[in-house]
């Protein structure tokens, strides 16, 4: 079986302000090329789970596997590298470095990875921008483009190192329905053309219905 991501009995507590069992026995997996969405009421723990899966949050019990490799227990330095190389992350709020150009924002994770030359990276970044139809904005400052454009830049940045999985925390939450459809189509296209795995948290029922699988969360548990 070709699992890109797998969790076994992940539990997490918030200790402050009082002990709160936010994630309860989360065990699930995402197959290669699968487009899965996570739904659930506000406060059910979706974002919390996603931060753990993206290796940013290490305070949990249970185990996390990426590409069948145990991630849990690795040190921060290794986790940074894994995040850099294998995980693409798109936030609800399009977090870009506002002082850098669009192109530089997209290139940055690849420059950090340092597996390719500057020219190759620039070429790849331009390709991603073209694919997302924002190549005209490449040299604009990231602070001077619209919200929908920023979201697409963030997707291009998440894709620059050809990750094995793309995670998104309500990436369409701030977009109008036309832009949201646009982003969905891009995800769909990435899955079909490049076999990318996707795990997207969303409140948008229409969006979720179009994905391969809906993971439903309730009170810190996966219910279906």
């Amino acid at each position: 079986m070709n699992l890109v991501l797998e969790t076994k009995n992940i539990n997490k507590h918030f200790l402050k302000p009082k002990d709160f069992h936010v994630l309860k026995d989360i065990s699930f997996s995402v197959k290669k090329g699968e487009f899965a969405s996570i739904m659930g009421k506000s406060g059910s723990g979706k974002s919390t789970l996603l931060y753990i899966l993206s290796t940013m949050d290490t305070e949990y019990t249970g185990s996390l596997y990426l590409n069948n490799e145990l991630i849990t227990g690795k040190n921060h330095q290794e986790l940074s590298r894994i995040r850099n190389k294998y995980v693409g992350f798109v936030f609800q709020f399009h977090y870009l470095l506002s002082e850098f150009s669009v192109l530089e924002n997209v290139m940055l994770p690849a420059k950090k990875l340092a597996e390719k030359s500057h020219q190759e990276i620039e070429f790849l970044a331009m390709e991603k921008l073209k694919m997302l139809d924002i190549d005209k904005l490449a040299l604009q400052r990231a602070s001077r483009i619209s919200g929908g454009e920023k979201q697409r830049v963030a997707i291009a940045r998440a894709l620059i190192n050809n990750p094995i999985i793309l995670m998104g925390d309500e990436p369409t939450g701030n977009l109008d329905s036309r832009n949201a459809d646009n982003v969905f189509n891009i995800f769909k296209q990435l899955k079909e053309e490049q076999g990318l795995s996707l795990l997207i948290v969303t409140h948008d029922e229409d969006f979720a219905k179009k994905t391969d699988r809906i993971i439903q969360m309730e009170d810190g548990r996966i219910v279906s």
Binding site: M56, H76, S80, K85, F89, L97, L108, K112
Partner: protein, 420 residues
């Protein structure tokens, strides 16, 4: 594995977009370093000048006969009374001559010695200067003037006339500047000196001597060795003092002990004679460094504040960098680089500015009666101040940058992204 080009590129972008803050921080360092360089150059210049003022007039080793009680009283030599108590009242120094009794052999010995750069004989005499009705006490030093010129910079202190004039004149005198003023005498005039015994001798003023130390200038004059011997009615071997310059001044204390026991004579080294000057030098150095370090600490706080502010503003950027795969160490290096760039640029500017200030001071006119050889402020130029300055700058910016950047390293991206 650190990816420097990326880190430096991000650091550079941060610095350039916050150019005003960067400039403020860098100028803080510049100001601190420039002040340090200027202060230390000026203070050291001053120290050297003051030390030279004394050292040039102080021989490394000074040989003379001191009048003091015999250390071993005769009774101690007398075996019969060794078992009993000995009471000696009213111990007085033995009638002793000021003359160094074996001066010529000592001089010969010193001429052969490789440690010695040169030794000059002197004959001192207590006299009165008489001009008209004025009578002033003082002393006359008989010297071999050309030897003195070679070994000390006495010629710097001859403000009127030339050393050669003294050499060529049997009854010439280099009169102390204070004396000349008190008695309204100038070159070419005559002055009478009277010995303690009352004999009068006319001398012709061939030059004025001004050491810058009032006590000396008000009492001391130079004549030829022979002149003093003649005035005192003594022979050619009447020598009261021998001044020795060594090749290595640091050897003075040891060498002086050696001579003292070798020739049973009093020998003082420059260190004993001028112990207080080192104290002065040390205190001036202490002040210089205290002021400079204070300035650098102030500059360091500037950097610390600005980086703290920057990190606070860039919280979101830090979270993004970490979320996209930059490690805590990378983030720390980004902010450390900014601190170090500020330190290096500010520090180098400070060196240049400090140098310019030093040159300006060095060219500023500074004329004073007391220091005839000085006409601009003394400034010491030494590469070591500049090395210390830049090292100072780097250390203080490193410390100022370390604390905030360490905070940036520890920032939890999840917290920022959640917005709490």
């Amino acid at each position: 594995m650190t990816n420097w080009p990326v880190i430096l590129n991000i650091a550079k972008t941060h610095l350039l977009t916050k150019f005003k803050s960067t400039l403020t921080a860098a100028l803080g360092v510049t100001f601190g370093i420039a002040s340090y360089i200027t202060l230390v150059s000026f203070m050291t210049g001053l120290n050297t000048m003051l030390d030279d003022l004394i050292l040039n007039q102080t021989p490394h080793v000074h040989l003379y006969n001191e009048i003091k009680p015999t250390a071993k009283q005769p009774v101690a030599l007398y075996d019969d009374v060794q078992q009993s108590f000995q009471f000696i009242h009213s111990v007085k120094p033995k009638q002793n001559q000021k003359k160094i009794h074996n001066a010529l052999p000592i001089l010969n010995y010193l001429k052969e010695d490789k440690n010695v750069k040169g030794a000059t004989p002197q004959a001192r005499a207590q006299i009165f200067y008489i001009s008209g009705s004025n009578e002033l006490g003082g002393n006359l030093i008989g010297v071999d003037i050309m030897e003195e010129v070679k070994l000390s910079n006495i010629s710097d202190y001859i403000v009127n006339g030339k050393p050669e004039d003294l050499k060529n004149s049997d009854s010439g005198i280099l009169l102390g500047a204070g004396l000349a003023e008190k008695m309204s005498l100038k070159i070419g005039d005559r002055v009478q000196v009277s010995t303690v015994k009352g004999d009068l001798f006319p001398l012709k003023i061939v030059g004025i001597y001004q050491s810058g130390i009032a006590d000396i200038d008000n009492s001391q004059s130079f004549v030829n060795l022979k002149t003093v011997q003649r005035i005192l009615g003594e022979t050619q071997n009447y020598i009261t003092d021998i001044n020795i310059k060594l090749n290595v001044i640091e050897n003075a204390p040891v060498y002086s002990k050696k001579l003292s026991s070798l020739f049973s004579i009093t020998a003082t080294s420059v260190n004993e004679a001028n112990a207080q000057f080192e104290t002065g030098t040390n205190i001036r150095n202490l002040i210089t460094y205290a002021v400079s370090i204070t300035l650098l600490i102030v500059a360091g706080f500037g950097i610390y504040n600005i980086l703290n502010m920057l990190i606070y503003e860039k919280m979101k950027d830090i979270a993004i960098l970490k979320a996209t795969g930059f490690s805590g160490k990378d983030v720390q290096l980004i902010f450390m680089s900014q601190a170090m760039i500020i330190g290096i640029v500010g520090g180098l500017l400070g060196l240049v500015l400090g140098f310019i200030f030093s040159v300006l001071i060095d060219h500023a006119s500074f004329k004073t009666e007391a220091l005839p050889t000085i006409d601009t402020y003394p400034v010491s130029f030494s590469i070591s101040y500049y090395v210390i300055g830049i090292v100072f700058a780097l250390i203080s910016t490193f410390i100022a940058g370390y604390l905030p950047s360490n905070k940036a390293r520890k920032i939890d991206p999840v917290k920022i992204i959640r917005g709490t």
